[in-house]
Amino acid sequence: MGERILEMSGICKAFPGVKALDHVDLYLEKGEVLALVGENGAGKSTLMKILSGAYKQDEGTLQIDGHPVDSGKYSPIASIGLGVSVIYQELNYLSTVSIAENIFLGRLPKKKSGIVDYRRLYQDSLEIQRELGLDELDPMEEAGGLLTAQKQLLEVARAFVRNSKVIVMDEPTASLTDKEIEQLYQIVKKYKERGGSVIFISHKLDEIFSICDSVMVMRDGKNVLRSLIEKETKESIIEAMVGRELENMYPVEEHEMHEVVFEVKNLSSHFLKDISFEVHSGEIVGLYGLMGAGCEEITQCIYGIEKCESGTFYLNGKETALTDPHLSIRAGVAYVPGERKAGGLLLNMPVGANVTLASLKKIAGRGFLNLRKERRMAEQWVQTLDVKTPDVDTDVESLSGGNQQKVVFAKCLNVKPKLLLLNEPTRGVDVGAKAEIYKLMEEFCKEGLGILMASSEMPETMAICDRIIVVHDGRITAAFDKREQPYQQFEIMKAVLGETDCSLEEEV
C-alpha cells in the first residue's frame, strides 16, 4: 500500500436547488478496499457517477494512477479505458448473449480476417471463470439464465478482462445469500492481492468490518470521516452518518391527535413481513428506511396497487377491502406517487383536468361533465394551495416541479380523503416549495386528515412527523413517537440499518 491509485479532490456538484457534493475528497490506495457509507442522498452515487464519467463535476480534480484527468474529455468510455469499472445495483448484461461474449464485451478476440475467434474466446472465458469460481458454467450458455450472484461475478470478470485498477461495487451483497457473499469476499480478496482496489458501497456494517480496510462516511454531500477500519466501531460510524446539527427547518406545532382513522394488521407480501400499525386522524406518520427497504411498497399495498399475501385494513374501525385504486378512492384513501411525472400527472393536459382527475364523479351528472364547475373547483384549489400558474387552462408540464406537486396534492385532496398516502412528497422540489408543501400537510392535518408519508430523507421525516415507523428489509424494526420523547438520530439510524447489537454509552 501507500501508492495512490485514485485521488478525487475538492469535488463539487450542484443540481438546481441542491448542493449534492461540497468539496469532497476521496483517495484510494493500491490494494485497498474502501467502504463508502452514508444515508440516502448523502452524495455517494453522485460521487461515483463523477468517477465513472457519467456526470461532470463543477469543481475539483480527478487523478487516476498519478495522472490528472481532463474533465472535458472524460466520459464513461474513457473511465473504462483508464481502469475504472463500476458495478451498479442494476446489473448490466446482455441476457440473450453467451457468458463468454458478455465477459469479453467490446474485447472479443478476433482472427486475422476480422471474424471472432470463438475457440479462443471460450478458452479465455473458461480461464477467467475458473479464477472467479464460475468454472461449472458453460461459457456458451446465455447470461440471462444465471443467478443474480453469477451475473454480478460476470461483471467482475468483465472488469478483470479490462484490466481495471479500481472496481466500484454498489451494494453488491444486497440480494445475495450468505454463501454467495462469502464467495464474493474471496474474489475481492484475490483481486486485492493482485493489486486491485475496491470501493465498496454498503449499508451492512458487519460486512464492512469483515472485508474493508478503511471507511469513508459521507453526509449531506460532504465527507465527514475517513479512517482505517480498525480504528472505528459500529457506533462511531453511525454517529458520523447522523451527526448533523438539526436546525429547526420547519417549525411544527404539536398536532392534536384524534381517533384512529386507519389501521393495518399483519400485512405481508412477497417482500413485506407482518406489518401492523395505525394512523390517527390529525397526525402525520412517517415511514422511514433506506431505498428499497419497503416503505413505498407499504403505501402501495394499502392503496391496492401491489399484491398483498395477507393483511387487513380498517378505515374508521371498519374492515375495508382496498384492492384497486378506484375502490381505495371511494373508501377515502388518496395516493401521491413517488414519481409525479410517471404516475401523478397528465403532463400535456391542463391544471383543471388534473385537479378533477380522481374525482370526476364530483363534476359529472349522468356522465356529462360540468366544465364550469370544474373550472371553479380548480380555481379554488389553485388559490388554496397557492399554485403558481397563469390559469387553470395551462398545461401542467409548463409548471415548475413544486407547483406540479401541488397540483398532485390538489387532485388527491379533491377526493376529500380520510387518509393521504405520500411517497417522497418533496422529491425534485426546491426549498421554498418544500416548506409550502409541509405547511399544507399541516393545515390539512388540522382539519382531521391522517397522513402516512414514506420518505427516504431523514431531516424531513424527523421535522414533520409525529411518529416515525422505521422499516428495514421489509419489516418494521422500530417506532418512535415525538410526543413521548424527542427523536434521536442515532437510534433511528440504528433501526434503519437493522443493527440491534450496538448502543451509545451516553446520549448524543
Binding site: G41, I305, P325, L347, M349, L357, F368, L369, E397, G428
Partner: protein
C-alpha cells in the same frame, strides 16, 4: 376609449391563444383550404356540382371510420381492422336481405356486428395484453376471412329504396351520407369533450399510469372505446353498401390506412392524449380532396397507392416531430428539477433516478 382598447387587446390575446392551443387544427384547416384552391385551378372538373357531390359521398365513409377510430386513438390505441369489420357488416346486410328480412333488420345487425367486433379488439388488447397494432392486424385478416366465408366470396346485389335514398338523396343540397358523417363528428366531439368517458379516454392517452392511479377503470374505458370504433365501422358498412348497391366481401381492401392517416394528420398522435376530432375532420377532407384530385387528373391507380403510402409515412413523421418537440421540453424541465434519467425496471414500469 380606454376600455375599448383593453377589450381589443383581450380579443387579440384570445385569438392568439386559440391559435396556439389549436395549432395542428388550424394548420390543417389552412392545408385543406390551400388544397381546395390548388385543385380547383388544376382541374376544371373539380368545382362542378357532380364532383362536389362525389367528394361529399366518398368523404362520408372515410369520415365515419376516421371519426370512430379517433376515439380509440385518443387513448393510445389503434384499429386497423375497420375495413374488414365494414366488409363483415356489409355482407351481413346482404345475406339478411337475400333471405328476405326487412332491410331494417340488416342495418341493425350491421351496427351490432360492428360493436361486437370492436369488443373483440378490446378484449384482445385489454385482457390478452397484445399491442393494438398487432391485435388489430390479426383481426383485420380474420374478419376479412369471415366476410368472404359468408358467401364463399360472392357479391350480393341489393336494390332497396331506403338504402338508395341514403346513398343518393340530398338534404339542403348536400348528400345525406355527408350529414350522417357530420352527425358522427358532432357526437364524438360532444362525447370526448363533455363526458366522463371522454375525459377518461384523454387521461389514459395522456398517462395511463396516472389515470389508473387516479381510480379510472382503464380496461373498461378501453373496451368501450374499441366498441365505439367498431360501431363506426358497422355504420361505414351501411354507407358503403348503400353507395355500391352491393354487399362485397372485399370492401375497403387496400385503403385500411386512410382513416388512420387522416387522424394522425389531424393532430391526434399515435401515443394518444392530444388532438381532437376537429383535426380529424380536416385530415379526412384533405385526403379525400387529394384522392379526388388524383382521379380527376387521371393519375394511374398504382401511383395513387404509392402516394397513399407516402402520405402515411408523412403523417407519422409529422407526429414524430411534434412528439420530439414535447420530449425536448420535458427533458429540459427534468434536468431543471434535478431528474434526468429515466430507467425501466423489471416490471415494465418507469421510474426516475435521482442524482
Amino acid at each position: 376609449m380606454n376600455e375599448k382598447g383593453l377589450m381589443k387587446t383581450g380579443g387579440v390575446a384570445k385569438v392568439r391563444r386559440f391559435l396556439k392551443m389549436n395549432s395542428s387544427q388550424v394548420s390543417m384547416f389552412v392545408a385543406v383550404a390551400l388544397g381546395f384552391i390548388i385543385v380547383s385551378i388544376a382541374s376544371p372538373y373539380f368545382l362542378t356540382g357532380t364532383n362536389m357531390k362525389n367528394l361529399g359521398m366518398s368523404m362520408a365513409t372515410y369520415g365515419v371510420l376516421a371519426g370512430g377510430v379517433t376515439v380509440s386513438m385518443l387513448l393510445g390505441g389503434l384499429d386497423l381492422s375497420q375495413m374488414s369489420v365494414m366488409a363483415v357488416s356489409s355482407m351481413v346486410i346482404g345475406v339478411l336481405y337475400q333471405q328476405g328480412y326487412p332491410i331494417g333488420v340488416g342495418l341493425l345487425a350491421a351496427l351490432v356486428i360492428g360493436i361486437l367486433a370492436g369488443m373483440v379488439n378490446g378484449f384482445i388488447v385489454t385482457k390478452m395484453k397484445i399491442v393494438p397494432m398487432i391485435a388489430t392486424i390479426g383481426t383485420q385478416m380474420s374478419f376479412r376471412a369471415i366476410a368472404s366465408l359468408t358467401t364463399g366470396g360472392n357479391k350480393i346485389r341489393i336494390s332497396n329504396e331506403l338504402l338508395d335514398n341514403l346513398a343518393f338523396q340530398t338534404f339542403l343540397g348536400v348528400p345525406v351520407q355527408f350529414w350522417v358523417m357530420i352527425l358522427v363528428f358532432i357526437v364524438v366531439f360532444v362525447m370526448m369533450k363533455y363526458t366522463e368517458f371522454g375525459r377518461s379516454v384523454y387521461a389514459i392517452g395522456s398517462n395511463q399510469m396516472a389515470a389508473y392511479l387516479s381510480g379510472i377503470k382503464v380496461n373498461k374505458i378501453k373496451m368501450f372505446a374499441y366498441a365505439i370504433t367498431g360501431l363506426s365501422s358497422g355504420l361505414a358498412g351501411i354507407l358503403w353498401t348503400a353507395q355500391m348497391r352491393t354487399a362485397v366481401p372485399t370492401a375497403g381492401v387496400g385503403s385500411e390506412f386512410i382513416p388512420i392517416s387522416s387522424v394522425i394528420m389531424g393532430g391526434v398522435g399515435l401515443g394518444g392524449g392530444k388532438g381532437n376530432i376537429v383535426g380529424t375532420f380536416f385530415g379526412v377532407a384533405l385526403l379525400t380532396i387529394f384522392s379526388n384530385a388524383m382521379t380527376l387528373l387521371n393519375i394511374q391507380a398504382y401511383y395513387q397507392d404509392l402516394l397513399n403510402g407516402l402520405i402515411l409515412i408523412l403523417a407519422v413523421f409529422i407526429d414524430t416531430v411534434r412528439r420530439l418537440q414535447t420530449v425536448k421540453i420535458v427533458k429540459k424541465e427534468h434536468s431543471h428539477a434535478g431528474i434526468t434519467e429515466y430507467e425501466t425496471n423489471g416490471a415494465g414500469g418507469i421510474y426516475c433516478k435521482r442524482h
